[in-house]
């Protein structure tokens, strides 16, 4: 059943879904993202439920500085765009362009992560807003931190792929891997949009 794809005339137009393995990976990953969505939904629900539970600690209106968060959002949105460009390059079988766009994605992601670490550090040192300060604080750090952990995991995943396949060109084996990693990156980005809205914008608005 497998390996029956004729590659003598170059790669098919959708190299990531050309083999049964690729198709399985693709579908399995969508299911996985479905589960991840619910995971985040639960953390969002927890955050919304405990948003008011500040117990004399800082409230979100005290904390949030939108300019920083705006820069972070832009970084992550741009990285999503560059990963799309990488996938376009993959479909055109332009390996070099794909690698370059992917590396740019990684750099943007690292910058985002750096800002997030700075943000947390800022809250802890300047506002005495630690993980155990209040139920709101715990919920805030676990939701945003879970997202941060996803960013970190996504980055290491993409970096491993980039190093492992630095010279291999696009093949039917690695195309699904890159594609799936790109999908994961978009997912992280979408989750951030919700965090931006629910945690930061709604936090400022009261």
């Amino acid at each position: 059943m497998a390996g029956a794809v004729d590659t003598s005339k170059g790669l098919p137009s959708h190299p990531e879904r050309a083999t049964l393995e690729g198709k399985n990976k693709f579908l399995g990953f969508w299911f996985f993202l479905g589960g991840e969505t619910i995971l985040f939904a639960t953390f969002f629900g927890t955050f919304l439920g405990l948003r008011g539970g500040t117990a004399d600690g800082p409230t979100s209106a005290d904390l949030v500085a939108l300019d920083l968060v705006f820069i972070m959002t832009m970084l992550l949105l741009t990285s999503s765009l560059t990963s799309v460009l990488a996938m376009f390059a993959m479909k055109k079988n332009n390996f070099k362009a794909m690698m370059i766009w992917m590396w740019i994605t990684v750099v943007l992601g690292l910058a985002f992560l750096g800002f997030e670490i700075y943000e947390f550090h800022h809250y802890v040192t300047d506002y005495e807003f630690g993980f155990s300060t209040s139920a709101f604080a715990s919920a805030f750090y676990s939701l945003v931190g879970l997202h941060g952990a996803h960013v970190a995991f996504g980055l290491s995943w993409i970096i491993v792929l980039l190093i492992r396949y630095r010279k291999s060109g696009i093949t039917l084996t690695n195309a699904p891997k890159f594609y799936v990693a790109g999908l994961y990156w978009h997912f992280i980005d979408v989750v951030w949009v919700f965090i931006f809205t629910v945690v930061y914008l709604m936090g400022v608005g009261g």
């Binding site: 059943m1 497998a2 390996g3 049964l20 198709k23 399985n24 579908l27 399995g28 299911f31 996985f32 479905g34 589960g35 991840e36 619910i38 995971l39 939904a41 639960t42 953390f43 629900g45 927890t46 439920g49 405990l50 008011g52 539970g53 500040t54 117990a55 600690g57 993980f131 155990s132 300060t133 209040s134 139920a135 709101f136 604080a137 715990s138 919920a139 676990s142 491993v160 792929l161 492992r164 084996t173 891997k177």
Partner: protein, 625 residues
Amino acid sequence: MATQKQEKSVIWDWLTTVDHKKIAIMYLIAGTLFFVKAGVMALFMRIQLMYPEMNFLSGQTFNEFITMHGTIMLFLAATPLLFAFMNYVIPLQIGARDVAFPFVNALGFWIFFSGGLLLSLSWFFGGGPDAGWTAYVPLSSRDYGGLGLDFYVLGLQVSGIGTLISAINFLVTIVNMRAPGMTMMRLPLFVWTSFISSTLILFAFTPLAAGLALLMLDRLFEAQYFIPSMGGNVVLWQHIFWIFGHPEVYILVLPAFGIISEVIPAFSRKRLFGYTAMVFATMIIAFLGFMVWAHHMFTVGMGPVANSIFAVATMTIAVPTGIKIFNWLFTMWGGKITFNTAMLFASSFVPTFVLGGVTGVMLAMAPVDYLYHDTYFVVAHFHYIIVGGIVLSLFAGLFYWYPKMFGHMLNETLGKLFFWIFYIGFHLTFFVQHLLGLMGMPRRVYTYLGDQGLDAFNFISTIGTFFMSAGVILLVINVIYSAYKGERVTVADPWDARTLEWATPTPVPEYNFAQTPQVRSLDPLFYEKIHGDGTMKPAEPVTDIHMPNGSILPLIMSIGLFFAGFGLIMLNMDNPLINPWIVAIGGLVITFGSMFVRSVKEDHGYHIPAEQVKADLAELKKGGN
């Protein structure tokens, strides 16, 4: 049979296998061991409750037993036992050579198993978790719960990951791996219910993972989600738990419905009545299953509006369930029924499950539930669902698929005796518990006073447990006896059944189907018996068969997760021998390192040459199979 792997030792073969059939048998064995363990706990608890004010178990030990009994039975017994059948049967029923991700399948098993071991380890570190399987905060929080709760949180977290990835695997398998002609509306009902149940796992185990993570952060890192004085909310945990917990019931009972929907048609010699209605009823049950979680919380004080909405939503589940009941009845109606052990279990499931269902509707009436809630009435209700529904169908499935899995029959005489003893014991145990609840006996009590009129029914209930235990012992005897003396099965289709798994030879070759079959109808094998020559038409010529390589990595990865979990638990120990972080991070390094190895080292599997397959086929013909 292709046996080119014989040079490797048997143990290594099982530790590294990615064959869905072997993984199924490992699930079966692991599930059985946990089932026996939790069953013995139940027996001890019933002995404690046999007479008023007994001192057989202390209150603390009893609470550890109720917690572990419930947790093990649901997560580590019922789930793996159903997964055993799902693993074995789904690929065969859809005409596939394996699941979509054989590696992930093995990984799922080993992670589940190491999580189960982690949970069980609590007995050696000061006692099991003691806050009930629902682990309500604050009783389970850092201020009130002991080390056992850390084992609960991390053991379930680890085993939940295994369950989750196995579910994704089933989903992809059913969508992508079906043989030609096996359309979605020709899928056997067991495959359908497994599919929907896997969807539920995907959407229900993730909230559980989130909830367990919150509880872990509470217990190990001083998070404040559940501490009212710090702005936390204790009811939040109940919502998260039951958003998982209610669908969990359907996760278990839907595949059980599936087994019943296979066994009843096979032994009634009739196709399933109302197949389409059955499929859609399953979907509706699953959908509604997510809308009703708060009916477990009627007495927590959610207010009359929420209580009314969830009460009415809960009642509606009775409609699709009723549809299923009548469809099973009318499958048997007009059939030619053979009452062997499998069919005894499957047919008795129908009225038994109705008894559990009607008490379910009674419980849905919120204001009346203020009486039933947290009493023995509830205990009776959910045991009618779980034992009367899930366990009866597991036994039906066991007797039905046993010859395919192990190449011999289970003894029928012992089987029927087992059925009667178990079935009578079951009703004896649980029917009177309805009345105990109404008479004022709360659940989860380790004892009761003698002057409360509860003595007689508690005694009867305990006697019933002895019957059930005797039944299970008979089953064990049957398994051992049949292994030596049981009727050998060499034919493909010992039951004269209807679905594709019975088109494979017994024992099933590791590639399942020499040629992928062409499916022409629902109940494809039965269709060929009527309209063809009784064998499946191949959809492809005999070619080289691609097979995945075995791998030890799943085992190593799950060992890593085991230590990651154990390291985190050590954070709460009084004097851990080594720094907990070394253990925890070491475990994660092992897991992610193996993941890295797997990802970097491409493994394309191997091919069984066409000649080998042809030789196997020829040998089968000679054997008259």
